[in-house]
């Protein structure tokens, strides 16, 4: 069965001051799948990722034109509450960034912000989120200990659990494994395979083999332009655009 479009992007332009950082990007991101963005540094892939939950709003000089819809609703509409938007569209960053508090409080933070006070309910959310991020068994006996005492790979899964705790629809991941060793990377990649059963996952990665392994569809960006967007196996076997071919085969970059 053809998957529904979760995020629809039309004619998206983004400027940082005079710098035209994204040029007329159009894309349909399918629900419950993994979509990967690849491209050389500075190509706009992370900028584009951040437009999907309005993280770029935090940058003063930014100007955005075009349409971004989540479930057919314009996320740049005037009445959109960005806090609620980011509850629906969670984000995980390159460097694991747990809060300097206990593992439990890290996960309970979001639900508490959104008004959940009931201890039993919070306990349940914390456990479910940690299980969802495939880290519960590793930390269940030290939930009250600081999250900063965990390894980098564990911290990253805590951050994923923290994102899951507010029950998002979409998870944006900005190079989530680039600071991790191969074993932690493999765990996160396996986790992504699980996550896409329930969530729409969008991942920026510098590791092309990772894009091949984890994603269903891949978009290739170059100097602000989305050059090619296709099923991952087609893009990496039969790239249509010469620039895609040159990049993925290492002829420039």
């Amino acid at each position: 069965m053809e998957k529904q479009t979760k995020i629809k992007v039309r004619n998206l332009d983004l400027f940082y001051g005079a710098n035209h950082a994204l040029k007329n990007v159009n894309m349909d991101i399918k629900e419950k799948s993994v979509t990967a963005f690849i491209g050389p540094s500075g190509c706009g892939k992370s900028t584009f990722l951040k437009t999907l939950n309005r993280m770029n709003d935090l940058v003063d000089s930014v100007k955005i034109d075009g349409l971004v819809e989540l479930d057919n609703e314009n996320i740049y509409g005037e009445d959109v509450d960005t806090t609620l938007l980011r509850k629906k569209i969670g984000m995980v960053f390159q460097q694991p960034n747990p809060f300097p508090m206990s593992i439990y409080d890290n996960i309970a933070y979001g639900p508490r912000v959104h008004g959940i006070k009931d201890k039993n309910k919070l306990d349940r959310i914390v456990e479910e989120s940690l299980r969802g991020a495939a880290i519960f068994d590793e930390v269940k006996d030290r939930l009250k200990k600081s999250a900063l005492g965990l390894s980098g790979g564990q911290q990253q899964r805590i951050c994923i659990a923290r994102a899951l705790a507010v029950q998002p629809d979409v998870l944006l991941m900005d190079e989530p494994t680039s600071a991790l060793d191969p074993i932690s990377t493999a765990k996160i990649e396996e986790l992504m395979d699980e996550l896409k059963k329930k969530y729409t996952v969008v991942v920026v990665t510098h590791n092309m083999q990772q894009a091949v392994r984890v994603s269903d569809e891949t978009a290739f960006f170059l100097v602000g332009e989305m050059v090619e967007f296709n099923r991952t196996k087609d893009l990496f076997a039969y790239p249509k655009d010469k620039r895609t071919e040159d990049y993925i085969t290492g002829r420039f970059g």
Binding site: A237, P239, E245, T249, G250
Partner: protein, 215 residues
């Protein structure tokens, strides 16, 4: 960028061409030995099979290293995966040249019944088909590869004619059974070589076509 990778791909290409030249020579010599009842030449073909086997291992190792070290994608990946399959077909062709030569040595000692008239043409057509499939690879010529695939029907129909020749031989002369079955074996080897040449042509299309197409 990718200087070493390009070097590895160039070596792979060069070795594949070399392997192609080796099997071409091997099958041409095998046919020549068969026609001329040249036992020495047939023996040389059989000895030469070891060189072909070693070349196959060498190419396989090159492919293996490229996969391990470079994790190729797109046309690089298609070339390497096609090379791994193609080299197997080439090695089999070498085996069949050797098989034919083994029978040639036996047949050379027997009076060849002139009624197996289609075997010569089968030999000529098979060699032609093989050479064209290797040319298609060297020239990255998808059209030529397609015509090779089409020509396989010629070999298949010559096989059926040779089979009929063999049946006629046996019904004409009950003592010709041993020679007749050997001729049938040779015909079958040529038919198999035709199939392997078809495979090579298919891998050429796979490696150099810009779109995924049914082959």
């Amino acid at each position: 960028m990718r200087t070493k990778f390009q070097e590895q791909l160039d070596i792979l290409n060069k070795d594949l061409m070399n392997m192609g030249a080796l099997i071409e020579k091997s099958i041409e010599d095998a046919v020549d030995a068969l026609m001329k009842k040249d036992i020495d030449k047939a023996k040389k073909v059989m000895d030469g099979d070891t060189v072909i086997d070693n070349e196959e291992k060498k190419i396989h190792n090159i492919c293996f290293n490229i996969l391990m070290q470079q994790q190729p994608v797109a046309k690089d990946l298609r070339l390497v995966s096609a090379a791994m399959k193609m080299v197997t077909d080439m090695e089999r062709i070498g085996d069949h040249a050797s098989d034919i030569s083994e029978i040639t040595i036996f047949l050379a000692k027997k009076p060849l019944d002139g009624r197996a008239k289609h075997i010569d043409r089968m030999a000529t057509e098979t060699v032609k088909m093989l050479i064209e499939s290797i040319e298609a690879f060297i020239d990255k010529d998808i059209e030529k590869a397609r015509s090779v695939i089409k020509n396989d029907d010629i070999i298949d129909s010559l096989f059926l004619k040779t089979k009929q020749d063999v049946i006629d031989m046996i019904s004409d002369n009950r003592n010709s059974g041993e020679v007749a079955t050997d001729i049938l074996m040779i015909a079958k080897y040529f038919e198999r070589i035709g199939d392997h040449a078809t495979n090579i042509a298919e891998w050429v299309i796979y490696a150099y076509s810009d779109t995924a197409e049914e082959i």
